[in-house]
Amino acid sequence: MRKTNCKQIRRELDELMLGEAWSAVATEHLRECAECREFHVQQTKLRKIVGSLGTVEAPADFDFRLRARLAKDASSAPIYWRLVRGGMVAAAMAVVVLMGLVVVRDAMRQGENPGEVAQKPEVHQPVKPDQTPPAVREEKQSDNVVAAATPYTIRKIRPAQVDYKKRPLSSFAMSSTRASVLNGTEPAGMSTAFPIDSSVQPFTVSLEDGRGNAKTISVPTVSFGSQRIVQGGNQFAPKRDW
């Protein structure tokens, strides 16, 4: 019986919004059941942590635009482009196979001539980072050590030498900085996102309308356009009313 109660109570707690009051039964149960109390505390903490994280939402028409783009990629590319693309893929595969063969051959030759490998450490002197500006440095290095440079050398020293800036990734959530614009149109100079100062929580008020009817209304902190925030509000320039 207790188990069943716990299950039911935890389900109720699970469904409640953060800060929402629970039922009298739940209150009674929580008073007696330490496990459920602990469950509630942990759950509330978790919700608060999750709630404190910002959410990233896809634009309203994301799904539509994604589908449209997929459909476009599949069907709308010109036939010549598809042929060119197919040819390019084949050429790329051939080049990769060829390159593989060359690498295998080199590896075999390398095994035959170990003396060359032994010389490598002398050549691989890392260039001090503060010698020259990054862009110039790579050129100088290639001039100075042109005979000794190997891909290994370049790969090792590049991060230290070049002031490498992380590029924005294509998967960066643009939805957090841009609103949806239909048909992909993006008016030039109109895309700056700006913050709107607003109150922290919606304004909630209980009132009586003078006819004995009581009601509670909640007014959002921000509204866009001419969405009236209270029902039965004023109407400017009404039609058929002179």
Partner: protein, 499 residues
């Protein structure tokens, strides 16, 4: 070929192949779409309402007589709501036109006598809790600049603002561009980027197509309609721009999937009207509801007392506006117009549609006299009737607000230019005051304003009696209000308004 050379060649081949593969995977270039026009003249208006204005808004929405409970964080002075809407920067570099939905909390009594001169406050005193409209403007560069609310043009519903500094936002030339059915337009308006705090917004645009252009009886465009996907009330107030980037109108309503657009010429005229007066301009008010005969069926006309043959004759001629109701105390009632009457002409101009009727009344203006040609169900001939129109800012005067002050029967605080909401004890405790009538607005030209009554005051007694004690109008030339302001008791003596 030694190992190093081979390796270098191999490296180049790898790089080349990566390039080839990447190129092959790149989708075909999309056909180039024409670049949409920039519209820097479209700005974003931020209109903030504090707790007191929110109460006034509730009072004007017919929803409230008393406040029973408030959320714990509520404070009269704090901003509780922010409206974000598009605005149009006019070509003088300082005037902004916008369709602010909550503009009615910013101006005085809805029914105004319409003198030629504006009504400046008698005193420069500024209320501490009601510092005037809190509006600001965000330009295309995202910078927020302060603006001053000048007034509402009630005929169009447009609010006119003035930037505190000239040319701080880009202004576009507003020409009276021709608009034709089938034209492509862009509807600009601010839209949310994030729903979580901090709220971010940006100017967005949707594409639309002009469906229908309604010409004004006196020439020019009266309205036009634009169809677009995903239209909602959030688009009202948006600015319509043509393919050349010129402003062609502002959305002032929605009818199904079509947006009704107020054309640029009427926007300019509205701005002129308000700027000339430096105050709100009422629309002409007759006090009737009705429908064009051409839009009605025969039985609908018969329901208003018309005999069948005469009703059929009216329908056949497609003329006139059938009045369906008359507002008590309105100019129409004073002129003895009745429900069922049909107005055929305004100043000798034939009326066929509701828009034509609206147009000619607006051309006449508030406080003007017009001559109607009228037919009546029980009167065989048409006759001429002179009617003196009055002016109205918004619909609030139509609300039977008197019934909302049962405890104040007969004593219409509203007649003294004072708008109030009753506070219940718990709410009063929360606000740090006592139960009574919370003053949410005082007309700056009323005697109460001069006497020092302020929004935020709580009226406890009038002439020594609790506000709830009144059942009849206190007969007095001077009303003594005992009020609580910032936890201090004060006495405000207000001379009665002369009838």
């Amino acid at each position: 070929m030694n190992f190093r050379t081979t390796y270098r060649v191999g490296f180049l081949i790898v790089a080349l192949s990566i390039c080839v593969v990447a190129t092959a995977q790149t989708p075909a270039p999309a056909p180039k779409a024409p670049k949409p026009p920039a519209a820097p003249q479209v700005v974003t208006i931020i209109h903030r309402l504090n707790g007191l204005k929110m109460f006034r808004l509730l009072l004007r929405s017919e929803q409230v007589q008393s406040i029973d409970a408030l959320d714990s964080a509520f404070n009269l002075m704090d901003d509780v709501h922010t409206n974000v809407i598009a605005g149009l920067a006019m070509d003088d570099g300082e005037t902004i036109a916008a369709w602010l939905p909550e503009a009615d909390v910013e101006f005085g009594p809805p029914v105004v006598a319409f003198p030629a001169a504006p009504r400046p406050p008698k005193s420069p005193r500024v209320f501490s809790l009601f510092d005037g409209p809190d509006v600001s403007v965000i330009g295309a560069d995202g910078k927020q600049v302060p603006a001053k609310y000048i007034g509402l043009d009630a005929a169009t519903g447009l609010s006119i603002l003035r930037l505190e500094n000239k040319n701080v936002v880009s202004a576009g030339v507003i020409k009276d561009e021709p608009v034709n059915s089938g034209d492509s337009v862009l509807l600009f308006g601010p839209e949310p980027v994030t729903k979580t705090r901090p709220v971010l917004a940006r100017m967005g645009a949707i594409e639309g197509r002009v469906e229908n252009v309604m010409l004004a009886p006196s020439g020019g465009i009266a309205r036009f309609k634009v169809s677009a996907a995903k239209l909602s009330k959030a688009n009202i107030g948006g600015v319509a721009v043509n393919q050349a980037g010129d402003t062609i109108g502002i959305i002032d309503g929605l009818e199904g999937n079509e947006a009704s657009i107020l054309p640029a010429a009427l926007i300019k005229r509205a701005a002129q009207r308000v700027l000339e007066r430096q105050a709100s301009v009422p629309r002409p008010w007759l006090g009737v509801k009705g429908e064009a005969v051409a839009a009605l069926k025969l039985d609908q006309i018969q329901n208003h007392g018309w005999e069948m043959t005469r009703a059929a004759a009216l329908v056949g001629k497609h003329r006139g506006i059938l009045l369906t109701s008359i507002v008590p105390g309105s100019p129409a009632e004073r002129a003895e117009l009745r429900a069922g009457d049909v107005i055929l002409k305004v100043d000798d101009k034939d009326i066929q549609t509701a828009d034509e009727f609206t147009w000619w009344l607006e051309q006449a203006g508030p406080s003007s006299s017009v001559e109607f040609t009228v037919v009546r169900p029980d009167r065989p001939v048409e006759w001429a009737l002179n009617v003196k129109l009055s002016g109205m800012l918004d619909q609030w005067s139509r609300v039977n607000w008197r019934s909302r002050f049962p405890s104040m029967k007969g004593f219409w605080l509203i007649d003294q230019g004072i708008e109030t909401i009753a506070l219940k004890p718990l709410v009063a405790l929360q606000l740090g005051t006592t139960p009574g009538l919370l003053v949410v607005y005082v007309d700056p030209v009323a005697a109460a304003f001069e006497a020092g009554l302020e929004p935020g005051d709580v009226i406890q007694t009038i002439n020594g009696k609790p506000v709830s004690a009144f059942r009849t109008t206190p007969n007095s030339d001077l009303y003594t209000f005992e009020v609580v302001r910032k936890k201090q008791k004060r006495v405000v003596k207000v001379p009665a308004k002369k009838k």
